[in-house]
C-alpha cells in the first residue's frame, strides 16, 4: 500500500511538472512558431533595424517605464484602430528585445508615434509636458536637458530618435507591403489586418486634408464663448498663451514660435484647415479628436469681433508698384504669384509659405517677418537684400492683398 502511494505521488509530481511544460508548449512555444512563420511571410526582405541612437533611446524608454503608461500594441479592435491606426503585426516588433507591448494605457498608444509631432514639440513635452499640454499627467524629464527644452542632451536626442522610429517599418513597407501582409495573415477570418489609415493619430499634422468649414456662430452667445474659452485654456493656452499672444509657458522651446493670434486675422477656411490638419513642419498639432461643438466654439472664440476688423491702409500707387516688383522678384516663388502660398518652390519646403488671402497679419507683424525672418521656418530675413523702402512697399502689397 505504502509503495503504491509512493508511486502514485511520484506520478502526480511528474504530472504537475507536465502541466507546466504543457502550458509553455501550447501558449509559448507553439504561438512563437506561428508568429515566426508569419513574420517570415509578412516582413520586408531587408527590414530596417534600429540605429545606435535609436537603440539608446529605446533603453531609456525601457528604464524609465514609459511602457507602463504607453502601450505599443494596437489591438485588432475597431476602437483601437480608429484611434491609433493599423493593428500591430508580429513582424513589426521582430527586433524588440525585450518587447515593449505594455498592459496599461495612461497615455495613448505609441506604436505609430513616429511623425505625429515635430521634434521641438517632443523636446518641450519631455522637458515639461504640462507646459504645452496643460492637463497632462506625464512625468517631466528635465534631466535629459541642459536647463531648457531647446538644449537637449544626447539622451533626449536618443529618445526622440527612438520615438521617430515607432511605426516606421510599416510606413516604409508601402502598399506592396500591405498587400503582402494581407495575403499572409492567418487571422483574416477573425480580424482585419489592414486599416484605412496606417497612422490614425488625431494630432498628426498634414500638409493637405479635407476639412469642412467651421461654422461661425453669432458672437455674444455667452455659453458658446465660455465653452470656447474653456477649450482654448485646456488645449491651446500652453503654447499660445492665455492672452493669445503666442507666449504660453510652452512657447520657449518651440521653433517656429506659436503664432501670436492677436496679430493675425484668419479666414474661416484657414482656421478650419489649421484645426483639422495642424501646421505640418511646426509644433502646431492637429485637433481632429475635438468634437465639432468644441471646434465651433473655438472658432467663435478666436474669430475677431466684426468691430475690431482691421481697415486696409490706402494704397499709394508708386509704392504699390515698387512693392509688386519686389514681390514678384523675391517672394512669389514661395508665396505664389498672387499670394496664395502656392509658389513654384513651395512644394519642396518643410512647411508651406503663408497664403496671404487666408492669413492677414497686422502691419508690424509683416514688417517683423520680412526684417527678421521667421525663425525655424524657410522664411529668411531680407534686410541684406532689400532696402527699407522696398520692405515697406512689399509689406503694403501684402496688407492690401493687391497683386495686380
Amino acid at each position: 500500500m505504502n509503495r503504491f502511494l509512493r508511486t502514485s505521488y511520484l506520478v502526480a509530481c511528474v504530472a504537475g511538472v507536465g502541466f507546466f511544460v504543457l502550458s509553455v508548449l501550447i501558449l509559448g512555444v507553439w504561438p512563437g512558431r506561428v508568429l515566426e512563420e508569419e513574420t517570415r511571410r509578412m516582413s520586408p526582405e531587408h527590414p530596417l533595424k534600429l540605429t545606435a541612437s535609436e537603440q539608446r533611446g529605446r533603453a531609456i524608454y525601457s528604464k524609465e517605464g514609459c511602457a507602463y503608461c504607453h502601450t505599443q500594441q494596437i489591438r485588432f479592435l475597431k476602437s483601437d484602430v480608429i484611434r491609433f491606426g493599423a493593428p500591430t503585426l508580429a513582424w513589426e516588433t521582430q527586433f524588440d528585445y525585450p518587447h515593449l507591448w505594455g498592459t496599461r494605457r495612461i497615455g495613448p498608444d505609441l506604436s505609430r508615434e513616429g511623425g505625429v509631432h515635430s521634434p521641438d514639440w517632443h523636446f518641450s513635452h519631455l522637458y515639461s509636458p504640462r507646459s504645452i499640454v496643460p492637463e497632462s499627467v506625464m512625468p517631466a524629464y528635465p534631466t535629459m536637458f541642459n536647463g531648457a527644452p531647446d538644449r537637449p542632451t544626447q539622451e533626449a536626442r536618443d529618445v526622440l530618435a527612438y520615438i521617430e522610429s515607432l511605426g516606421r517599418a510599416r510606413e516604409l513597407a508601402g502598399p506592396e507591403g500591405e498587400a503582402r501582409m494581407q495575403a499572409a495573415s492567418h487571422q483574416m477570418d477573425d480580424m482585419q489586418v489592414a486599416s484605412p489609415v496606417l497612422n490614425a493619430s488625431p494630432a498628426k499634422a498634414r500638409r493637405t486634408g479635407t476639412y469642412s468649414v467651421i461654422r461661425y456662430h453669432l458672437i455674444g452667445q455667452t455659453t458658446h464663448a465660455d465653452r470656447g474659452l474653456n477649450v482654448y485654456n485646456r488645449h491651446c493656452a500652453g503654447c499660445h498663451g492665455s492672452k493669445r499672444e503666442g507666449d504660453g509657458p510652452g512657447a520657449k522651446g518651440l521653433l517656429p514660435r506659436p503664432a501670436n493670434l492677436t496679430e493675425h486675422d484668419y479666414s474661416r477656411e484657414r482656421f478650419s484647415f489649421v484645426l483639422w490638419n495642424g501646421v505640418a513642419g511646426t509644433a502646431m498639432p492637429a485637433w481632429r479628436d475635438l468634437s465639432k461643438e468644441d471646434l465651433d466654439a473655438l472658432a467663435d472664440f478666436l474669430a475677431p469681433a466684426p468691430s475690431t476688423r482691421r481697415v486696409r491702409p490706402p494704397g499709394v500707387p508708386r509704392m504699390m508698384e515698387l512693392g509688386r516688383s519686389v514681390y514678384a522678384a523675391h517672394c512669389a516663388q514661395c508665396h505664389g504669384v498672387s499670394g496664395e502660398g502656392d509658389g513654384s518652390a513651395a512644394r519642396e519646403l518643410a512647411m508651406l509659405p503663408s497664403n496671404f488671402h487666408d492669413i492677414a497679419p497686422v502691419n508690424s507683424a509683416i514688417l517683423r517677418a520680412i526684417r527678421n525672418g521667421v525663425e525655424g521656418t524657410p522664411m529668411a530675413p531680407w534686410t541684406a537684400k532689400l532696402t527699407d523702402a522696398e520692405i515697406i512697399a512689399v509689406a503694403l502689397v501684402i496688407e492690401r492683398r493687391e497683386w495686380e
Binding site: L5, Q94, Y141
Partner: protein, 476 residues
C-alpha cells in the same frame, strides 16, 4: 499529517529566530513598497509633486513597488510561515539553520535591496513582474534553489505519504516558481517582440498563479484547521482544487494579450482556461468557507479572520478574472484602471491578507514573542476598509476610461475623468498605511506570550498543550 491532530513529535523544532527575522523583514519591506506605491499614486494626482529627478521618477518607482510587494513583502512572509509550517506538517526540521541564514541574507541583502537600488539607478527590465535587472534574477533563481533545498527535503523524507493539502501547495509553489521564474525573466530578452510577449503573458500570470497563490493558499489551508482545531471540510475537494489549479493556472497567461497578434487559438484557449479557473476557485473557496463554519462570521482570532477574509477576496478576484478575460469585457476594460483594481484585490486583498494571517498565526505560537490583540484588531479593519475602497474606486475608474476610449473623445478626457478616482486611491493610502503600521505594532508591542493567551481564549487550554512541545526552538 493532519495539523489539527498532531501526534507527539519531539524531534520537531521550529526555528523561531528565522520566523522572526523573515517576519520583521517582510513588514519593513512592505513599508518600503508602500512608500513606492504611494509616491507613484501621488505623482499621478500631482505630476509636479517631485522635482523630476530620475531617482524618483514615476516609472522607476512603479517597478520597485510591484517587485517589492512580491519579493520583499510576500516572499519574506511566506518564508516566515514556512519555517513554522514545514516542521509542523512534516514532523521534521528544515534542512539547516545555517542555510536559513544564508537564504535570509541572500534574499534581502543581495536580491531585494540591491534590486530596488539598481532599478532606481536605471538598471532594469521593462517586463511586468520581472523588473529587477538580469543580474538580480540570477540570485533570485539561486535563492529559490536554496529555498527548495531548505523546505522540500522534510516532505520527501516523510516519503510523501499522507500529505496534508498545505504541503502540496508548498511543494507545488516552490517547484513551479523555480521553473517559471527563469521563463518570465530570461526568455523575453532572448525572444523578440510578439513571441517574447507570449512568454511574458505566461509569466505575468504564473508570478501570481504559481508563486503567490499556492503559498497563500498553503497558509489559508494551514491556518484554518490549526486555529479552529477542526479538520478541513473535505480532503477530496482540497485535492481536486489543487490539481485543477495547477493544471489551469499556467494555461491562463495569454489572456493578458487578447485581440493581439498572438494566434487566436492560443488566446481562446487561455480565455477558456480562465473561465474554468473561476469554477475551480469556487470549489477551493467553498471548501475553505465550509471548514470555517461554526467559527462565527468574524472569528475573534485575528489570524483566522485574516485568512478567512483572504479566501473571500480570492473568490471575488478570481471570478472577476474569469469575467475580464472574456473577449467582450476584455476589449473594454483592458489597459484601464479596472485591471489595477483587480491586481490590488489579488495582491493587497487576497495575498496580503493571507500573508498577514500567516505571520500573525505563527507569531502567536512563539512563546517569547510580543503580541498585541487590540492593535491587530484595528489593523484588520483598517486594511479591510482600505482594500474595499481602493478596489471599488479603481474599478469605477476603469469603467469610466473604458467608456471614453470606446467613444471618440480626446485622450485627455479619459485622464481628466479619472483624476478624482486617482485622488481617492491616493487617500486610501491613509487607512492602508495605518493598518500596516498597526500590524507591526501588533507584533512588536504587548506582553510576551500574549499570543498563546489569545489562542487559549479562542480554542481552549488543551490546544496549547498540544502546541507547546513543538516550540522548543532557539526561541530568542
Amino acid at each position: 499529517m493532519d495539523v489539527t491532530n498532531p501526534g507527539p513529535a519531539p524531534q520537531t523544532q521550529v526555528e523561531t529566530s528565522l520566523v522572526r527575522a523573515h517576519g520583521i523583514a517582510a513588514i519593513l519591506m512592505l513599508f518600503a513598497s508602500l512608500v513606492f506605491g504611494i509616491t507613484v499614486s501621488i505623482e499621478l494626482v500631482w505630476p509636479n509633486a517631485l522635482d523630476g529627478s530620475p531617482w524618483h521618477s514615476w516609472g522607476r518607482l512603479r517597478y520597485d513597488h510591484t517587485q517589492g510587494i512580491m519579493l520583499g513583502w510576500l516572499a519574506n512572509a511566506f518564508f516566515a510561515f514556512l519555517y513554522h509550517a514545514v516542521p509542523v506538517l512534516t514532523g521534521r526540521r528544515v534542512t539547516s539553520v545555517k542555510l536559513g541564514q544564508w537564504l535570509f541574507g541572500l534574499w534581502n541583502f543581495v536580491v531585494v535591496i540591491p534590486g530596488w537600488i539598481l532599478v532606481l539607478a536605471g538598471f532594469s527590465q521593462p517586463l511586468e513582474w520581472a523588473e529587477f535587472p538580469l543580474v538580480i534574477d540570477v540570485f533570485v533563481v539561486l535563492a529559490l534553489v536554496l529555498a527548495a533545498i531548505q523546505f522540500l527535503p522534510p516532505f520527501f523524507a516523510r516519503g510523501l505519504v499522507d500529505l496534508y493539502v498545505s504541503s502540496w501547495y508548498i511543494i507545488g509553489g516552490l517547484i513551479f516558481t523555480l521553473l517559471a521564474y527563469p521563463m518570465g525573466n530570461f526568455v523575453p530578452e532572448l525572444v523578440p517582440g510578439a513571441r517574447g510577449a507570449a512568454f511574458s503573458g505566461l509569466w505575468i500570470h504564473d508570478a501570481v498563479g504559481l508563486f503567490v497563490t499556492p503559498l497563500a493558499l498553503a497558509i489559508i489551508y494551514y491556518v484554518i484547521p490549526a486555529a479552529t482545531r477542526r479538520p478541513i471540510y473535505s480532503h477530496f475537494l482540497s485535492m481536486l482544487g489543487f490539481w485543477l489549479l495547477f493544471f489551469l493556472y499556467p494555461l491562463n497567461g495569454t489572456h493578458h494579450y487578447v485581440f493581439s497578434v498572438i494566434p487566436m487559438n492560443a488566446q481562446k484557449g487561455a480565455i477558456a482556461a480562465s473561465a474554468l479557473l473561476g469554477v475551480d476557485v469556487m470549489i477551493v473557496v467553498a471548501n475553505l468557507l465550509l471548514s470555517l463554519r461554526g467559527s462565527g462570521w468574524f472569528p475573534r482570532d485575528i489570524p483566522l479572520r485574516f485568512v478567512g477574509t483572504s479566501a473571500v477576496f480570492y473568490l471575488i478576484v478570481s471570478i472577476q478574472g474569469s469575467v475580464q478575460a472574456q473577449m467582450s469585457v476584455n476589449q473594454a476594460v483592458h489597459f484601464s484602471d479596472w485591471v489595477i483594481g483587480h491586481s490590488h484585490l489579488a495582491m493587497l486583498g487576497f495575498a496580503t491578507f493571507a500573508a498577514a494571517g500567516g505571520i500573525t498565526h505563527v507569531w502567536q505560537r512563539i512563546p517569547s514573542a510580543r503580541y498585541n490583540h487590540r492593535a491587530l484588531e484595528w489593523a484588520y479593519w483598517l486594511l479591510f476598509a482600505g482594500v474595499i475602497i481602493m478596489v471599488s474606486d479603481l474599478t469605477h475608474a476603469g469603467l469610466t476610461e473604458a467608456r471614453l476610449w470606446q467613444s471618440g473623445a480626446p485622450w485627455l478626457d479619459s485622464v481628466n475623468a479619472v483624476r478624482i478616482y486617482w485622488l481617492i486611491r491616493t487617500l486610501t493610502a491613509i487607512p492602508i498605511s495605518a493598518g500596516f503600521t498597526l500590524l507591526l505594532v501588533g507584533l512588536t508591542t504587548g506582553r510576551r506570550g500574549a499570543g498563546l493567551d489569545a489562542i487559549r481564549e479562542s480554542v481552549g487550554l488543551e490546544a496549547i498543550e498540544q502546541i507547546a512541545p513543538r516550540l522548543v526552538g532557539s526561541g530568542s
